[in-house]
């Protein structure tokens, strides 16, 4: 019987397997950031161990770094605890070395999941890990990429391997063209709405179908990124011409004769036609509308032309309670039309939607328009220094600035509000990030997840609008 893409990636990294299925998996690429690594380096030191292969490490500081005031250097990180974490990463990389390090203030610094692919440090056929759940993003390049905890970060540093058990295979097939204004983000949210935040638990998801094929690499990264919000640790897409075209000429992509050699291998990174999956989900792209979350879990999502659901119509008591609690937190009444929800802030950024294509989509919506006066803050945070530079080259920064957006330095920013960018209690935000959990963007903050175009349109209108009708 044929193998799935996941089977192939798994098998090709198997160093050892016990009879009970516990396996040692070899890790090709280890991405490191400041929040989940200090305790791992410390553990290594305490045990008197050395890193196995620092050539696998690509590191950056992204979670704590400020998005303004870079001219002040490290002092621009006001919070002493944050600064210490950034400095600790500097010290650890200095002590142990890495293949590449993009520290705070470097031109190529950025969100770890944006810079990996951008540098060509994420390549098809790799195992890619990082102490961050959105490592699933890199699966867009036909890699086995998943998030790990800090003990595992230490384990990979020390042994270049992870102890793992094979997951089940799930295929999500999306067929048909997407309507104008409907994006990869909407596909991801529609999927989570359908299968729930635990729907993919225990599975590796492969995305397939004509819709996925037609997506750019940026779009595929958005979908793979949100895989963790569907409960699966990794999502992936087979190699095709788009993958290859994206990687060609990237700094760490193979060159010369090795490019052809790599290409021949990459072309095999797809599921065999007769491979079988433990679970199958099919989505019709034509039926997908722009999505907006209304609650405190990404599965609490509806199309923009719908309304906030009514818990009274929910039969399951636990679910009803969850809905009531979410509505109370979100300050929303049942059956409010989504387009009647007014916003205080708008955040365009995060590893889900801060790549050049996302910024282009948002800029196209705001061009020549103004942010609504009722919106207190609308900000664009590019995913990396290189994305920022590219956007500036295309004049997108002007489009945003002229419309009244703030144009910031790269980083995670208000996706999780570890730096100074955050919502105040009760503030409502349209965000292009991936999590609408309670307090995620600041204590008491209310997050609605949407695509970049939807966020941009909401900024201009002051409330949600159906971007399919945007002029």
């Amino acid at each position: 019987m044929g193998q799935t893409l996941y089977d192939k990636l798994w098998n090709s990294h198997l160093v050892h397997q016990d009879e009970d299925g516990t396996a040692l998996l070899y890790i090709d690429r280890h991405l490191v950031h400041e929040v989940t690594s200090p305790q791992a380096f410390e553990g290594l030191r305490l045990a008197g161990r050395k890193p196995w292969r620092t050539g696998s490490v690509v590191a950056t500081a992204d979670h704590n770094t400020p998005t303004t005031g870079w001219e002040q250097g490290i002092d621009g990180i006001r919070d002493a605890v944050s600064r210490l974490q950034v400095e600790t990463l500097d010290a650890n990389i200095r002590a142990y070395g890495a293949k590449a390090y993009f520290p705070f203030l470097d031109k190529r610094q950025g969100i770890v999941h944006v810079i990996g692919p951008e540098q060509g440090a994420t390549l098809p056929g790799m195992t890619v890990v990082c102490g961050d759940s959105h490592t699933s993003t890199h699966g867009a390049f036909a890699c086995l990429a998943f998030g790990i905890g800090t003990s595992e970060v230490e384990h990979v540093l020390a042994t270049q391997c992870l102890v793992a058990r094979k997951m089940k295979n799930m295929r999500v097939t999306v067929e048909g063209p997407l309507a104008r204004g409907v994006t990869a983000k909407d596909v991801a949210l529609a999927l989570i709405g359908r299968i729930g935040t635990a729907g993919g638990s225990g599975h590796a998801i492969e995305y397939a179908g004509s819709t996925i094929r037609a997506l750019s690499m940026e779009g595929r990264m958005t979908i793979c990124n949100m895989t963790i919000e569907a409960g699966a640790r990794c999502g992936m897409v087979a190699v095709d011409d788009s993958t290859v075209a994206y990687l060609k000429g990237r700094p760490f992509a193979p060159g010369g004769g090795e490019w052809d050699q790599a290409l021949a291998y990459w072309r095999m990174l797809r599921s065999d036609p007769d491979a079988s999956f433990d679970g199958e989900v099919a989505l019709d792209a034509r039926a997908i509308k722009p999505q907006v979350t209304w609650g405190t879990s990404p599965e609490m999502v509806v199309p923009v032309d719908d309304e906030v659901p009514d818990p009274d119509r929910e039969k399951d008591p636990t679910r009803r309670e969850d809905m009531e609690r979410a509505l109370a937190y979100m300050g929303l009444r049942p059956r409010t039309r989504i387009t009647d929800i007014r916003l205080d802030k708008v955040f365009i950024g995060s590893c889900t939607n801060s790549r050049i294509e996302d910024l282009r989509a948002a800029a196209a919506v705001v061009r020549g328009k103004r942010v609504a006066p009722s919106v207190r803050l609308a900000m664009v945070v590019p995913g990396s220094g290189l994305v920022k530079a590219q956007a500036e080259k295309e004049g997108l920064d002007r489009v945003f600035r002229d419309a009244g957006f703030e144009w910031r330095e790269p980083g995670c920013s208000m996706c999780l509000a570890m730096n100074a960018d955050r919502l105040e209690p009760g503030e409502r935000c349209a965000a292009t990030s991936n999590r609408n959990f309670e307090g995620r963007q600041g204590d008491g903050g209310r997050t609605h997840l949407v695509s970049p175009a939807m966020a941009a349109a909401a900024a201009v209108s002051g409330h949600f609008v159906d971007v399919r009708n945007w002029r």
Binding site: V15, H16, D18, D20, T22, L24, Y26, D28, V35, T36, P38, Q39, E42, A47, R53, V81, S82, L84, T88, G125, D132, S133, G147, I148, G149, T150, S151, E152, E154, H155, A158, T159, Q160, C161, V163, R165, T197, A198, S201, G202, G231, A232, R233, F252, A253, P254, E258, Q261, A262, S297, T318, D322, L416, M418, R435, F437, E438, G439, R440, D443
Partner: protein
């Protein structure tokens, strides 16, 4: 890692589904570069009435009297009873460190998010999956009987009530069980295969040289 063999503990019920790691330990506390000290900020936003930041004197902050862990009858709980998909969201291992630091050694739920489940085993925190119906009953009993305790026996893979009236079996992967029962360091175990790893790496380098540039 601390060994886990048999735990006889007071049970605290947290009656919410999809409790995410942002709730277990909010991000402002992830700035620490240590592994300890997270216990006072476990469930910070639910537990205190004010907004918590690192460096505060947490013992002086106003407690939310409605939050379960603040109720006198659950003081000293070492077992947390939870609902489905516990620990979803971010990969932060700080979530298991915070639970442990607070004193929780075992979480019982109908299901867990994958990364959190994994992280628990690295730290001697036992996640136990029981069928939804059993968990429902435990919630009921926990609410009905003050001082409700359970005995969790990892060797026998069982959870039983104090009076021995009920015993529920749970599944746990053999390797994880072995490490936890013996408090073993996983890195040390893996390094026993160092030669195999080296050989694997050498052949990979040969086949895919661009991965090692």
């Amino acid at each position: 890692m601390e060994k886990f063999t048999v735990l006889d503990g007071l049970v605290a019920p947290l009656d919410r589904a999809n409790v995410d790691t942002d709730q277990i330990i909010p991000k402002q506390f992830l700035k620490s570069i240590k592994r300890s000290g997270f216990g006072v900020n476990l469930f910070d936003a639910w537990r205190y009435m004010d907004h918590g930041e690192p460096g505060m004197d947490h013992s002086r902050r106003p407690l939310n009297p409605d939050f379960v862990l603040n109720q006198a009858r659950f003081r000293g709980a070492t077992i947390l009873l939870a609902r489905k998909n516990f620990g979803c969201g971010s990969s932060r291992e700080h979530a298991s460190w915070a639970l442990l630091d607070y004193g929780i050694r075992c979480v019982i739920a109908p299901s867990f998010a994958d990364i959190f489940y994994n992280n628990c085993f690295k730290n001697g925190l036992l996640p136990v999956v029981l069928p939804e119906a059993d968990v429902d009953r435990l919630f009921y009993e926990c609410a009905s009987f003050p001082g409700f305790r359970l005995i969790v026996n990892l060797e026998q893979q069982s959870v039983s009530t104090k009076d021995g009236g009920q015993t529920m079996r749970f599944e746990v992967d053999g390797f994880r069980k072995y490490c936890m029962l013996n408090g073993l360091d996983e890195i040390g175990l893996t390094l026993r295969h160092a030669d195999k790893i080296r050989a694997f790496e050498a052949s990979r380098r040969e086949q895919f040289p661009w991965l090692f540039r």
